[in-house]
């Protein structure tokens, strides 16, 4: 069930009404049933996996909580890790690794290529479950006794299939809180959802047409078209993913729940480290707490620190997808992190020497460079194969002279998969997005607007409501990108 569908809107309205009509003690059951129905709308049989994951983690965490024997606790934790990541490996990576070995050893490798369905959301709920069990093991939280509430924590439908990956201490207690109906929560939740729908349906889905046209026929385009498509992909993936997070957050808000902010205007980051504090915040936090810090973090010397950074981002890349392009993307960001960390002090000295420290120019330059670096890395993320990604980089420097010729420029504009009117509409929509995000400073746009006069809010939401209905992509719209993870 896609968020941007009438089915979801009807489903959500029914859940919302039923939730506030029911006594508090039954609400968890309603939300759990709704979450299972939400998940099963895609492929019913795969509910077995999520129930198995939930039950295993519930049981193992309770046993860890009851045990005082360190060896037994560790053994139980290892079982939990084995189950969570075993599921992830089998359903997400087995085919990938098998095909890799088949390519490397075509005559020797005994297993032929095969298909396996990738359960939606598996990368998210296994990580959420694993974090829970690890935190119980570490003694940070007590194991949840109520199986129903725990199941709801794992499967809560707004964040089930594409995050945010919520921490136990943030989300679980909220299921015990008695939420009264609040028109304010409903109003602000709908506003957040509207902003999410605007980003997804007006910008992400429209840019996807152009990006897919170019990236699926890389050999047919020169540098300008490839650069343009890559630039637009940066907006596509941001709007797609943050749009989903907004709709998830808005849906939860209507019910009285608070989900974390998963995106904090990452393209306004001044350096790569800041980018990863603002992009997919829940995943970055997960990798920091459960991979980077256990590896040693920044302790043990510079080389060890750099090694830990690189490994963390390499694994993060692989999390995003079973394809060498994602591994390369992760590696790119690993290198960025290492270089950024290694040169941070020197760059600071340089800025001070040139009296640029704290200046708007330095800040602007930092934002520009960070955006350029992340956009370049997106080439790997979007390309269908590693070979395609390298082909893009090889082609990027060429063909720019064609922009001086109006005929060539006209021909390029007509070949991108969107007609001129759609391109113009996309430009206007991107302008609305960029202006809104710049004007709202460090606040999310809906939060910023909530403090503005009523007429300003009305004008803004009317504008995006109109843009959604008159220019949103209602047909052949793609699924959310992160659904494939």
């Amino acid at each position: 069930m896609q968020f941007n569908s009438l089915t979801y809107l009807i489903f959500f309205a029914l859940v919302l009404i039923s939730y506030f009509l029911l006594p508090h003690r039954f609400r968890w059951a309603l939300l759990l049933c709704a979450s299972y129905i939400f998940y099963m709308a895609w492929r019913p049989v795969l509910i077995v996996l999520i129930v198995f994951s939930t039950f295993s983690n519930y049981l193992l965490a309770r046993k860890i909580g009851c045990s005082h024997n360190p060896k037994r606790r560790k053994r139980l934790l290892l079982w939990s890790i084995f189950i969570n990541f075993g599921l992830l490996f089998v359903f997400k990576y087995l085919v990938f690794f098998n095909n890799t070995f088949l390519t490397l050893f075509p005559n020797a490798w005994p297993i032929h290529t095969f298909d396996l369905v990738l359960p939606m959301g598996i990368s998210f709920y296994t990580f959420q479950a694993a974090a829970y069990t690890i935190d119980v093991y570490r003694g940070r939280i007590a194991p949840e006794k109520h199986y129903g509430i725990f199941s709801l924590f794992i499967t809560f439908f707004p964040q089930l299939v594409a995050g945010p990956i919520e921490r136990t201490e943030n989300l679980l207690p909220q299921f015990y809180e008695k939420h009264r109906f609040s028109a304010k929560n409903l109003g602000s939740g709908i506003q957040i959802m509207l902003w999410g729908f605007f980003k997804k349906m007006v910008i992400a889905d429209r840019t996807a047409v152009l990006v897919n046209t170019v990236y699926n026929h890389i050999g047919d385009y020169g540098g300008p078209a490839l650069a343009f498509a890559t630039l637009l992909f940066a907006f596509q993936i941001y709007c797609d993913f943050s749009g989903y997070s907004d709709i998830a957050q808005g849906s939860a808000r209507c019910l009285g729940f608070t989900l974390m902010d998963n995106f904090e205007k990452p393209y306004l980051s001044g350096n790569i480290r800041e980018f990863w504090r603002r992009w997919h915040v829940s995943l970055s936090g997960w990798f920091k707490d459960y991979v980077y810090i256990p590896l040693g973090g920044n302790r043990g010397g510079k080389l060890r620190h750099y090694r830990n950074l690189f490994i963390t981002f390499l694994v993060s890349g692989l999390w995003h997808g079973a394809n060498w392009t994602f591994v390369l993307w992760g590696a790119f960001h690993g290198v960025y992190q290492v270089v950024d960390t290694a040169t941070a002090a020197a760059r600071g000295r340089l800025r001070r020497a040139w009296h640029l420290e704290g200046t708007a120019l330095a800040a602007f330059f930092g934002v520009l460079v960070t955006f350029a670096l992340t956009t370049l890395a997106w080439v790997f993320f979007r390309a269908n194969t590693a070979a395609d990604a390298f082909a893009v980089f090889r082609a990027l420097p060429h063909g720019w002279h064609l922009l001086r010729d109006p005929q060539s420029l006209y021909a390029i504009a007509l070949s991108l998969g969107l007609n001129l009117s759609e391109l113009r509409f996309l430009g206007v929509s991107l302008l609305v997005l960029i202006l809104a995000e710049l004007c709202s400073g460090r606040y999310p746009v809906p939060v910023f607007l909530a403090k503005r006069p009523y007429l300003v809010q009305l004008a803004f939401y009317l504008l995006i409501g109109v843009l959604i209905l008159v220019g949103g992509v209602f047909y052949d719209a793609g699924a959310f990108i992160y659904f494939q993870f």
Partner: protein, 340 residues
């Protein structure tokens, strides 16, 4: 506190109502503008002409009717069949659900002995597609049939989208605006339409429902922009709803003693070369035809002497190709007539 909370709730409710009201008004007026754009849609203009000519025919004067998508009206020219009277009733992107209702409308005016339904796989794997229904509705005079179509065929979400003019006519509006923009740019900067977009021939509605075109496939569609690159027949399956309507078409024809024939029009040879496992597509359609006891001819598996020069693009014949194929089809019809 309760008073404040109810005042606050009332304020939010009022704000919500104001928002919905203003949004509805804006979208309504914009939708009207979008609707005007549909009149500039040349494809629809030909469909309108086709239906106008059809409704003007004497009642019960047709022996054979062609149905289907552009693969039908770019393939079968009734003028090429001289032994019987026929008419081309294909409409853009026509799916079997629309074919079923189109056939009902046809049978209200005509009593053909044969219906030739072009079955193109791309029209079979959607459960529903609004654009093709909308272009059919614009020409259908029978309002009751239109309402029944909406009631029976449209999923709920599509009914909602259909009612909102801004969604329904969005792509027509953007296409029309784009053509105006292109004209302005050409005038302002002295640029010309790129060869691929300009085409190398002409296209117009001819007669008896047939659309004439003498364009030859542009070089780009041999490779660069060929829509069939990467396609794998193993990924194809006939949607349940379309299967249902094909079955209903067969039942309707059987009920009226009409011979139904399925035909798949040819795509360009170069296009066929890009499709992996085309056999998987053919087999599914053939199996369905067999189950429905309907003769089936797939021109992607028959060599009737077509070459690349007989195609206007990667998926449609031009008039030279139509003449070749129709001659072959005419002969095939005679053979199955003799066989019966």
């Amino acid at each position: 506190m309760p008073v404040r909370s109810s005042t606050s709730s009332f304020r939010w409710l009022l704000r919500g109502l104001v928002f919905v009201l203003l949004l509805s008004l804006c979208v309504h007026f914009i939708g009207k503008r979008y609707e005007q754009a549909a009149a500039h849609n040349t494809i629809n203009a030909w469909t309108a002409q086709r239906y106008q000519d059809f409704y003007a025919l004497p009642e019960n004067s047709l022996d054979l009717v062609f149905l289907g998508s552009s693969h039908s009206y770019c393939t079968f020219d009734p003028a090429n069949f001289t032994d019987f009277s026929s008419f081309q009733m294909g409409t853009p992107l026509q799916h079997p659900d629309t074919s079923y209702y189109a056939l009902q409308d046809i049978l209200a005016h005509q009593s053909p002995k044969t219906v030739v339904l072009e079955v193109y796989w791309d029209m079979l794997d959607d459960d529903f597609e609004l654009k093709q229904a909308a272009s059919f509705f614009e020409v259908l005079q029978n309002d009751d049939l239109k309402k029944e179509y909406i009631r029976q065929v449209f999923p709920l979400s599509e009914k909602v989208k259909y009612k909102i003019a801004a969604i329904r006519w969005q792509s027509d509006y953007f296409a029309w605006q784009s053509s105006l923009l292109q004209k302005d740019i050409r005038q302002e900067y002295g640029v010309t339409q790129p060869a691929a977009a300009a085409g190398n021939g002409e296209e117009y509605y001819l007669a008896l429902g047939y659309t004439f075109c003498n364009t030859v496939i542009p070089p780009d569609e041999l490779d660069k922009t060929n829509q069939f690159k990467g396609m794998d027949g193993k990924d194809f399956s006939i949607a349940k709803s379309q299967k249902k309507y094909l079955t209903q078409i067969a039942a309707l024809c059987a009920d009226r003693g009409i011979r139904l024939i399925f035909v798949t029009a040819p795509i360009a040879p170069v296009s066929l070369g890009y499709i992996q496992n085309y056999g998987a597509i053919h087999d599914q359609v053939a199996a369905l035809a067999e189950a429905l006891n309907v003769p089936y001819l797939d021109y992607n598996q028959v060599d009737c002497g077509l070459t690349l020069e007989n195609f206007r693009d990667d998926a449609h014949l031009n008039d030279s190709g139509v003449k070749i194929l129709d001659k072959h089809f005419d002969q095939w019809l005679k053979e199955i007539d003799d066989g019966q």
